[in-house]
């Protein structure tokens, strides 16, 4: 077996519990070219720069694979001329396959992205529904406490299954107007889709292709579910976000039916697979820093800055793997070649010592904290306001109510994904639950 590159080690499940030392090694060079022709970006300045760069796209259909450079060939070679680049273009593997789906705004570039994002924001936030998220606060507090009530009488709990997963899933289901009896089915679909898009450097091309096909088929099932749900909402609209996408149009007009399906599917998956990790990472980090946990119990408003620090220190989205260079880009002494995949290590950027003082310290009082937890630029996380509020409330309530919570396994077992990283289970022993 050949030696793994640093980035391949990040993807390797064996390093899931603590990828941060690998990021530190990667940051010795801001941008490293991988043998598959992609470029991995690990430093804060370069990540921020590329997130705001109009020469970087998010539409994977604009990728092509070049002839790979032989091993040892210098990566900052003279860029090929435009003509040579065209000749070398090969479509990405799953382009044009049967399971190809219409990208949601996360995988589109301006101006289509901008219009879809505005349409999607219209029923969700400002300028039209600025109070949508804050209005959910009382319901969130009730939901968090109901989950905590189920822990009464137990000596040990699983933060993931009992708390961090149900809260965002119930909230996104409520937001989209999904009946509660459908939620288990969607849970399993969402999980299968995430497994399919995960990065695994050790599998063969065929295995990856088969896995992606399977994930694509699952995605089709999710879309079929959404189509039926949209039909029901069209006939009987409610005050939910999905009904808003269907009937409440802003200056950009109505969203096309296919776009409603892809948008709703995206929001559903994101609601299932991201905030769960932020809440769980938060609980884990607090249990590892008992003095901060105690402070939070005494000063509930500490949670505001604490969640921002979590987004820097243990972000649920570690990697943005889907960017593409639309033209040759010279940055930090490297030329990123046109058509190449660009992989942004957000979690590494947020631990960059040239940007953050003492970056490996978890410091909820940190003032200078322009973290990359939700990305930056035009693709800044759509659900960030909801994720923040959910995590602020969830952590405040559980720390307030659990008596003497203790970590059982450190590190806990992790989920497979290196991109959407978080514990699979977080078993905590408790002495009781306060009222």
């Amino acid at each position: 077996m050949t030696q793994q590159s640093l980035y391949e080690q990040v993807l390797d499940y064996a390093n899931r519990a603590n990828p941060y030392p690998l990021y530190a090694q990667l940051r010795r060079k801001p941008i490293t070219r991988q043998t598959d022709g992609s470029y991995v970006v690990s430093t804060y300045r370069e990540i921020v720069s590329l997130l705001h760069d109009p020469r970087i796209g998010s539409d994977f259909r604009k990728r092509f694979v070049r002839e790979l450079a032989p091993a040892g060939f210098p990566t900052n070679q003279e860029p090929a001329s435009e003509n040579q680049a065209q000749e070398a273009e090969v479509p990405v593997p799953n382009q044009g396959s049967e399971t190809e789906v219409i990208p949601s705004f996360i995988g589109l570039d301006p101006p289509e992205h901008d219009r879809l994002r505005r349409q999607a924001t219209w029923p969700f936030g400002p300028p039209h529904k600025p109070g949508r998220v804050t209005d959910m606060e009382p319901q969130l507090i009730r939901l968090a406490n109901r989950q905590i009530d189920t822990m009464k009488g137990k000596a040990s709990i699983d933060i993931v299954e009992d708390f961090a997963y149900p809260i965002p899933v119930k909230m996104i289901s409520e937001l989209l107007g999904i009946p509660s009896e459908d939620q288990p089915h969607l849970h399993s679909l969402s999980e299968a889709i995430i497994e399919g898009i995960d990065l695994d450097p050790q599998e063969s091309q065929e295995e990856r292709k088969r896995r992606q096909e399977q994930s694509g088929q699952t995605f089709k099932k999710l879309e079929q579910y959404m189509e039926a749900l949209i039909e029901r909402h069209r006939k009987q609209p409610g005050s939910d976000l999905l009904s808003g996408l269907i009937i409440d149009h802003g200056p950009d007009g109505a969203m096309a039916p296919a776009d409603i399906v892809s948008t709703a599917s995206l929001l559903l998956i994101a609601g299932h697979e991201t905030t769960v990790n932020l809440i769980t990472n938060g609980m884990l980090t607090l249990l590892r820093h008992p003095e901060v946990l105690e402070r939070l119990r005494r000063e509930p408003n500490l949670v505001i800055r604490l969640v921002e620090e979590l987004l820097r220190y243990e972000p649920p989205v570690q990697i943005l793997p889907n960017r593409v260079a639309l033209t040759d880009i010279n940055i930090a002494g490297t030329t990123i070649q046109k058509g190449s995949p660009v992989i942004l290590l957000l979690a590494s950027g947020s631990r960059d010592p040239t940007r953050f003082h003492d970056p490996d310290k978890f410091d909820p009082d940190r003032r200078d904290n322009m973290h990359l937890g939700f990305g930056s630029g035009i693709h800044y996380c759509y659900g960030a306001p909801l994720a923040r509020l959910e995590t602020q409330i969830a952590l405040t309530e559980i720390i307030r109510r659990l008596e003497n919570p203790r970590l059982v396994h450190d590190p806990p077992p992790y989920r497979q994904s290196s991109t959407l990283r978080g514990p699979r289970h977080l078993i905590v022993e408790i002495d009781g639950v306060r009222d």
Binding site: G125, P126, P130, T134, N301, I304, D368, M370, S376, A384
Partner: protein
């Protein structure tokens, strides 16, 4: 008294402050951020959430009681 100021050169209109404190901040005409410099004290937690959520850290908050005390000798505020 709670007072805020936003550096609108830094502001990139992520609107995170509007989501967090919708009666203090608002978006005008698609992208322009406007806000109340003197939000009601009851909105303190919302304003603190808004300032912490700003992706470009453009929002400054302060409590003005002491400032007013210093300046009262020279003029009457409001």
């Amino acid at each position: 008294m709670l007072r805020i100021v936003v550096d609108l050169n830094r502001c990139e209109s992520y609107a995170q402050c509007v989501f967090a404190a919708p009666s203090v901040f608002w978006i005008k005409d698609g992208e322009s951020l406007e806000y109340d410099y003197v939000p009601d004290d009851s909105l303190r937690v919302q304003v603190e959430r808004a300032a912490a959520a700003c992706p470009v850290q453009a929002i400054s908050i302060c409590w003005l009681d002491e400032q007013l005390g210093q300046q009262r000798g020279n003029h009457n505020e409001q």
